[in-house]
Structure formats: C-alpha cells, structure tokens
C-alpha cells in the first residue's frame, strides 16, 4: 500500500461538542471500507469507555484509510478526530499541526457556536484548508440557509465549497470526501531531506514501551534506523512502524507526508513529549520542527491515594497518563492530613474529572482530590512576588501587600430571552460587565471579565440550567487583578485540616463558611464522639456546626440464623470505610474534600 505524496491527504475534523463529529468520522470509516459495518460500534474513534459513556471526545485519535475517487484514483486519507470541549482545545491545536486541511462541522439545527469559532481560528492560524460541512440536514429543524449565512458572516468563510451531509444517514458523505481530496492540498516535504517527524501523541504499551504517533514532515524512517529525539536528546532503534486503519498495519517505512505509529522499545516515559521532533542519529536534521505552545494549567488540586501505601502506584499511573495527556502537570506535595500525594494542574474541571476517572478506572486507584484552586499571585511587603495554587501556601497576612487572582474574558452566547439570567449569574460571580453583542436575530453574546475561580465552581452547570442548555461559554485568560481574598481554614475537632483550606473572597467568607461547615456536617458520618466543624479566618472562628456522636449502629435483628444479608450490609459499609481517610481520630469521606465544589445549593 504505497502512496506517492500527491495521493495523501491529512485532515482533521473540528466542531463544537455535540455537533456530530465522531459520528461523521464513523461514517467516513464505513464509506472507505476501513471498518466493516458489522464491526462498527458507534463512535469508533472514541476508544476510552469514558468517551463513549459521556458521548464526548477527549483524546485526539488518528486513522489511515484509503479512498478511491470518481476518477478511480486511490488516496490515502489520514483522519484525525479532535475533542470539542473548551478544556481540550490544546489537543485540537496538536492535531491541527499534523494536517493540511480540516473539515469544519456545523450543526444545521444549531448554527455556529462560540467554541466553533475558536477552533476554526486555530485551523486558519495553522494555514489549513478549511471545508465547511453542514451536518444533521436530515433533521426537520435543520436550517441550512441560516447555517450557511452564519458561516459566511460569523466565520468569514465562503460557502461555495460547503458540503451538506447527514452523518446519521450517510447522505452527502461521498461528495464530501470527493471535495476533501480535491481541495485539500497534498502534504509538502521532501522524502530525500533529513528526517523530521513530529510526535503528536503517544501511549504506553507494557510489551512495546512507548508507542508514538508521528507525522513525517521530511525524510523517511525505516525499521532498524537509529533515531534521535531532538528535545529529549535520546537515541533509540526503531523496531516497529505502521499505520492505523484503525487496526494497526505494520509497514517497512514511513516517509514525508505520512502519518503513522512508531515503536522503539522506549521504556522511559519521560523521554517522550508530544511536540518533540524525531530525526535520524546518523543524518540529523539541523533544526527541530516548531513544537507546541506549552499550555498552562488553569485549575490545580491535590491528588492523594486513600491508602497511603499506594503512593508509588499513583506516581506510576500519573506518569503513564501524562504520556498521552501532556497537558496534565503534576509535582509531589504532602499534606499533614492526607500524607504524600501530588499537586496536579489541569486545563479545566472536565479535564480534572476525566483524569480522576481514568486514574480510578484504568489504574484501580482510590483517590482523594482536594478542592480545585486557581494560581494566585501575592505581592509581599518586601517587594517580592510569589505565586501559589495550594491555599496552605498563602503567605501570612502580615507579609502580604496585596493578593491578585487570574481573570478570564468570558463570552457567553445565549438566546436573547436568557440574557438577563446570564448577566445576573455573572454579577453574582463578581463579574465586570464588558459588552453585549447582537450575534444574529435570536442570539446575543454577553461579555464579562470574571475571576477564574468563580468559573470553576459550578458556573458551567448553572449556565446550562438557566438557559435550558442553549447558552455556551468560551473564555480566554486575561491576566491578574487585585482582589480582597483571604484564606479560610476548616477545623475538625479543633484542629485545622490543611487539605480543607480554601481561598475565598472576603465579603463572601461568612456566608461561605456557614455553607461549608453545614455541608461537612452532613457529609461526615457520625463519629464515636461529638466533633465540632469550624470555619476560621486568621484564627477567628466564623462558623460552626457539630457532628453528633453515633448512638446506634447495629442491626438488632438476625433472624433464623440468616446472616447473609447482614454480611452484605457490612460488606457495603466496609467499601465505604475504605474510601475514608482517618484524620486525627475523625473518619472523613472522600467527598468532604470536594465539598466546596457543591456549595451552590440554595445559592443564587
């Protein structure tokens, strides 16, 4: 299956979440015969259970398929599926760097969304040929003309090459592929030049070591070649090459323009970073390819094993996970209450959620996450500046001149009738009003400056519920601003618990303190003795609730000698107990550490 470069097309599919991207990829796989209809599960490229369950794409994924056009010419198409959620735009930019074109999917019933815009501009910045595809045209509520008009007016693309498809029924898919191979340019690059291959993803396989996904930009790599990872400065001998269809098909070599996988018994995970360039040790390229922009985490939290003996397992799991999720950053930290663990940085709450679930499912770990926090800036009286993302690291108030927190520029697109509710939400979250733009006849864009910390707590869910799911949020970082912030400590049985501290806006402290102690009182089960839960600022208690002592916990009946039911109940209790952390002599369930996250009950 050798293709000359003229017959190779590399493109990705970009779209807003829910606009049918993964279904469209399924249809392409089916049309090109890469996957038998019988084998076709819904959303083939969403490999993780988690992705299929939630119906979202988290990881980019690449496959190679062959396609014969109307003139009988055969093309190799490298298709890269990308995530649509705002948290994962980093993954999108990685996949785009490996392509020459992109299919921009727009839902005919929804039109252009804020997130679509962001991804399109990423593609245009990467000099990609963008082909608009209007999907879901089979639905009665489809409004093709409106979608076209928006593509022209909002994005600034022309629509004469626009494809009309239904990924669900398969209508228009042939024509779309025809147009894609016609309009998207073949990859450039010189197979005779020194090897330059971009690593855009990787995963760990216990038999083969790290397997990397590469896009060869120049030159050629063969089995047996000694390669050199330019950023890592490490050499390896290639023992496997191939393309994914999505089944792995081994090949002897990969050359300029091609996308495929490479294995070289790379045992040390740290040697591989997406964005690194692979070249030949014997005949190296003079410069590496432009790498990726290092993305900064937005949200941080502590990650601790419930069973402190599992610390090495957690370390190992994080290392393996970060291999194909390079946006996950972590470093060791320790807590008086929780022992040894890690401080980890995430792109957003969904990302944090996904990492937690993957660690628990794929690595069988029981974890405690502390409440998410942003990275604060603290200007000290001695003229120096420190940054901290763990509330415990906040310098003593006597040394602090001022505290700053990160703000974001938020654009919320919403149907007109919810503008009032959206603005109220933003006001309640300490937002600074910026602008209100009429996007089209029915929708408006509300622009606010908001503290990032206010967005990470339940903001998205609130937004969705107050707009019946219609409003969408996009935001970008907008520097630091001074805020009246204080550290709030939580005391259990009179002792401050470091892992429960949080940074709060001073005028909200009293209210939040009350909410959190009441919440903790409900979450923490009764103990053998009465336990006060207190919230304090600078040693001054501002709220208190008491956990009562346990009085009865025995099933007083064990009838006819049938103890099986009793045993089942105890078994369940045992599972619960395993997920608790003993702090002092108080048993605290995992959820307690995330309690601040669910404080919205009864608020707003």
């Amino acid at each position: 299956m050798a293709f000359d470069r003229k017959h190779i097309r590399n493109f990705s599919v970009i779209a807003h979440i829910d606009h049918g991207k993964s279904t469209l990829c399924d249809r392409i796989l089916e049309k090109t015969g890469a996957v038998d209809k019988r084998q076709l599960r819904a959303q083939m490229l969403d490999e993780m259970d988690l992705e299929r369950e939630r119906g979202i794409t988290i990881k980019l994924n690449a496959v190679s398929v062959s396609y014969k056009n109307h003139d009988g010419e055969e093309f190799l198409i490298n298709l890269i599926d990308t995530p649509g959620h705002v948290d994962f735009s980093y993954e999108v930019s990685r996949s785009l760097a490996a392509c020459e074109g992109a299919l921009l999917v727009v839902d005919a019933t929804q039109g252009v969304e804020a997130q679509t815009l962001a991804n399109v501009y990423l593609a245009i910045d990467n000099d990609l040929m963008v082909i608009p595809v209007i999907n879901k045209i089979d639905l009665p509520s489809a409004d093709i003309n409106r979608a076209k008009k928006e593509i022209v007016e909002r994005i600034g693309l022309t629509v004469e090459d626009c494809c009309l498809v239904s990924a669900k029924t398969g209508q228009g898919i042939e024509e779309m592929l025809e147009k894609a191979v016609e309009l998207i340019p073949p990859p450039e690059g010189n197979p005779e030049a020194p090897l330059q291959a971009l690593i855009f993803d990787s995963h760990y396989d216990s038999y083969r070591g790290v397997v990397v996904l590469i896009r060869v930009k120049n030159g050629r790599v063969r089995i047996g070649d000694e390669i050199y990872l330019m950023a890592a400065g490490k050499k390896y001998v290639v023992n496997e090459l191939g393309i994914r269809t999505p089944k792995e098909i081994p090949t002897e070599s990969l050359e300029a323009g091609e996308v495929g996988y490479l294995a070289a018994t790379i045992k040390d995970i740290k040697d591989v970073t997406p964005g690194d360039t692979i070249t030949l040790a014997s005949h190296p390229a003079s410069t590496p390819l432009p790498g990726y922009r290092k993305i900064n985490p937005m949200v941080y939290c502590g990650l601790y094993p419930v069973d402190s003996r599992k610390y090495p397992d957690l370390k190992d799991a994080l290392e393996k996970l970060s291999l194909n999720d390079s946006s996950l950053l972590f470093e060791p930290e320790s807590s008086e209450a929780l022992g040894f663990g890690f401080r980890a940085g995430f792109l957003g709450l969904l990302h944090m959620d996904v990492v937690q679930e993957r660690l628990e499912r794929e690595y069988g770990l029981d974890l405690i996450l502390t409440a998410p926090s942003v990275r604060y800036q603290c200007d000290l009286t001695d003229g120096t500046t420190v940054y901290f993302d763990n509330p415990c690291a906040m310098p003593a108030s006597t040394k602090v001149k001022r505290v700053l927190e990160p703000y974001v520029k938020a654009s919320i697109m919403t149907p007109g009738e919810y503008v009032g509710a959206v603005m109220e939400l933003c006001q309640n979250r300490r937002g600074i009003y910026q602008d209100l733009i009429y996007f089209d006849d029915t929708r408006q864009v509300v622009k606010y400056l908001l503290p990032l910390s206010e967005i990470i707590y339940n903001f998205f869910d609130r937004l969705k519920s107050l707009s019946k799911g219609y409003a969408s949020l996009d935001y970008e970082v907008d520097g630091y601003r001074e805020s009246d912030l204080v550290k709030m400590d939580i005391l259990l049985n009179g002792k401050p618990i470091d892992a429960l501290s949080s940074i709060v806006y001073r005028p909200d402290a009293f209210y939040k303190g009350n909410l959190i102690v009441r919440k903790l009182k409900d979450i923490i089960p009764r103990q053998l003795f009465e336990v006060p839960v207190q919230a304090a600022i600078g040693g001054k208690v501002i709220a208190r609730a008491d956990i009562k002592s346990v009085r009865k916990d025995v099933l007083a009946k064990c009838y006819g000698g049938d103890i099986s039911r009793k045993k089942k109940l105890l078994e369940k209790q045992k599972e619960g107990k395993k997920r608790m952390k003993e702090i002092g002599s108080v048993e605290v369930p995992q959820e307690a550490f995330m309690a601040v996250l669910s404080l919205e009950d009864g608020q707003e």
Binding site: A556, K557, I563
Partner: protein, 371 residues
C-alpha cells in the same frame, strides 16, 4: 459432623404485617400438605450422620396459623428428631393460638413458645398491621401456662415513628407483667419491599432509638432479665439454646421456604419462591468461605452476645491467638470503651453492644484480614 440444631420454616400467615420481609405466603389449605411433603423430602435429602437435634425451632411466617390437624401432622413428623432433653420452640401469634393448640404442642414435647406480641398498645398494633389486640396476647400466654408451658418468650418492637420513650416503657412494663421467661426487643427496620417501605416510612432517629434501648435494658435488668444478646433478655437459665447455636457460629440445618443453614461452615439459603421450593429447587450455596469469611462470621455472631467469645474457643477454631493478631484493633476498641477483654473472654462493652457495627468494621478492616 454433628449438627446440633434444626430450623423449620412455616411460611403461612393469615395476614401480612406491614414491616415483615420474611419468606411468607398467605395461608391456603391447599398448599399445606404439599409443603409438609417438601419439608420431609428436604430433611431426608441431607442424609445426615445423626438426624437427632439438640434444638428444634419452628419459625415463620406463623406456625400457629396451621389448623389443629395440620399442626398435629407437623408435630408428629418432627418429634422423632429431637434428642431427649432437647429444646423445642414454636413461634405463635396471639390471634391464632388457643388452649387446644397449646395442649397439642405440649403433649408432643414442645417446651418453649415464642409469641409475637410486639406492643401492648392496640393502636400501635393496628399501625403495624397486626391482627391481634393486647387482650389476645394476655389470653394466649394464659392458655400456654395452663397447658404447662414455663418457657415463654415475648417479642417487642420499638422505634416506631413518633413513638416516645414513655410509650416504649409502657409496652415493656405491660409485657413484664405477663411474667415471661424471655423478652426479645427489636427496633423497627424498614425493609425493602414491605408496605412500610412503599409508604416511604423512615426509621426513627438514632438518638431516640438509643434512649429507648437504654430504657429497655434498665427495666429488664431491674426485673431480673439478663441481656445475654443485643436484643434478648432472659431469666437465668432460660436463654434460648437454639439461638445460641447461631450466635456461637455453630452448624445448623434450616429447612423450608427461604430457610438458611450452616453446614460445616458452608452456608446456604433456600429459595423464597414457594413453587420453586415445592420442586426442591433454588437453593443457593455460598462459595467456600475463606479464612477471612470465617473470621468475619465468627465476630459478627459471637460479639452479639454479652459475654462474647473465649480466647480459648477462638484459638481452638482458628489455631492462632486473637490478641496476637488483632492487637492494634483490640487496643483501639478498648481505648474507645467499646470492647473488653477480661477473664479470658472478649466481649463488647455495654456501650459497645449497640455500636457493634463500629466494632466489626474495625476488626474487618484490620491489616491481618488483608493477608
């Protein structure tokens, strides 16, 4: 191996109480004889080395709901299996018990009766879905005594919604006036599938339950009833031998609908479906217990007893010393005042008995249990 105890389940009831989740069916004459046949077949199927038992317990359902003839058939079937000097109990409901049945049972050698009195308050009885009134209970106990029974046990349910401590006390005092040999006090549990569960009834608050229980303990103690198990209070020498088999984690055979058994440490539960049971199908055997399972069962049964277990018995059974292997946990529980180790025995303290799950959780989660 010798099996000391036999449990026989009679599932028939004249009506269904609102809290009951035991295997039961409404009494219908047509089922009784085939049910008895099934019981006989089942008992024979175990091909026991020695089919003689030290205790037989006929529970339900409502065994007393059987007609006089049916009752006689059951009694004559079971009589040969009781060892001389053995304990033979039958559960009865006040409304279906009379002098004739009392006389019949006594003549066959039944020597212990357990009455489901539950409350001395007629409006409470109505709320529970019971068919008797308190006067029926008084008369039933009287009939039993006249027939010659001296070992009579009465059941009491406490912890009903909105029930005060005082009401529980009144119930208990009324029961004590009947001068039983034993009183069993159970707190109301809302079980899945019961009428109470459908009504979304909630169990009483644990603070209130604890107060009611403490009151029950004090009153029983004052009247000469010793708490030998969490919910059982007996006059000296009248502890239920059959139930002690359970609490000592010894073997027993259970026959009948939904009955449970423990044979050479392997446990089973019969089907709760009558048609399945009549075909002698649907018995579920537990997988072979591991050492951990055995330890868990041992603790969960023995520690319900006020005097717990002896270190000697533990050593004989498990061939290692309890105090060596559970040192850390025992120390912690002793410090918390939940567990006592004295005179070669390990037992829950008075406070610990009502917090037994906390004790069990600590022992179950011991490091040695993972190894």
């Amino acid at each position: 191996m010798k099996i000391p105890s036999l449990y026989v389940h009679i599932p028939f009831c004249s009506s269904i109480c609102y809290y009951c989740d035991f295997p039961k069916v409404i009494y219908q004459k047509k089922w009784v004889s085939s049910y008895f046949d099934a019981l006989k077949k089942e008992l024979a199927s175990f091909s026991l080395e020695s089919p003689l038992f030290e205790t037989i317990y006929v529970g339900g359902g409502t065994p007393s709901s059987l007609s006089l003839d049916e009752l006689e058939e059951l009694l004559s079937f079971l009589k040969p299996f009781l060892l001389k000097g053995g304990e033979w109990s039958i559960e009865c409901n006040p409304e279906s018990f009379d002098k004739k049945k009392a006389g019949l049972m006594f003549s066959y050698g039944v020597n212990r009766l357990s009455f489901g009195v539950q409350s001395a308050n007629d409006s409470v009885l109505k709320k529970l879905g019971r068919r008797h009134c308190y006067l029926d209970a008084v008369n039933a106990v009287k009939s039993a005594k006249e027939a010659g029974f001296t070992n009579i046990s009465l059941d009491l349910i406490y912890g009903l919604p909105l029930e005060s401590e005082k009401e529980v006390e009144n119930d208990l005092l009324a029961l004590l006036q009947l001068n039983p040999a034993q009183i069993s006090a159970y707190s109301l549990i809302i079980e899945e599938g019961t009428r109470f569960a459908y009504q979304k009834m909630k169990e009483a608050d644990q603070d209130l339950l604890a107060k009611q229980y403490e009151r029950i303990c004090v009153l029983c103690e004052q009247n000469g009833y010793n708490r030998y198990e969490i919910s059982s209070f007996a006059r000296k020498g009248y502890e239920c031998r059959h139930n002690l088999t359970y609490w000592h984690d010894e073997s027993y055979l259970g026959i009948g609908l939904g009955a449970a058994g423990n044979l050479e440490e392997r446990r089973y539960v019969n089907s709760r479906s009558l048609s399945e049971y009549l075909r002698q199908e649907g018995r579920k055997w537990e997988t072979m217990p591991t050492l951990k399972d055995k330890l868990e069962c041992y603790f969960l049964t023995n520690l319900r007893l006020s005097d717990g277990f002896s270190l000697e018995d533990f050593l004989r059974r498990f061939s290692f010393s309890f105090l060596d292997y559970f040192k850390e946990e025992t120390d912690k529980l002793r410090q918390n005042g939940l567990l006592m180790v004295e005179k070669g025995r390990v037992h829950a303290s008075s406070k610990g008995l009502y917090l037994l799950d906390t004790i069990l959780m600590t022992l179950f989660c011991a490091k040695v249990m993972e190894e």
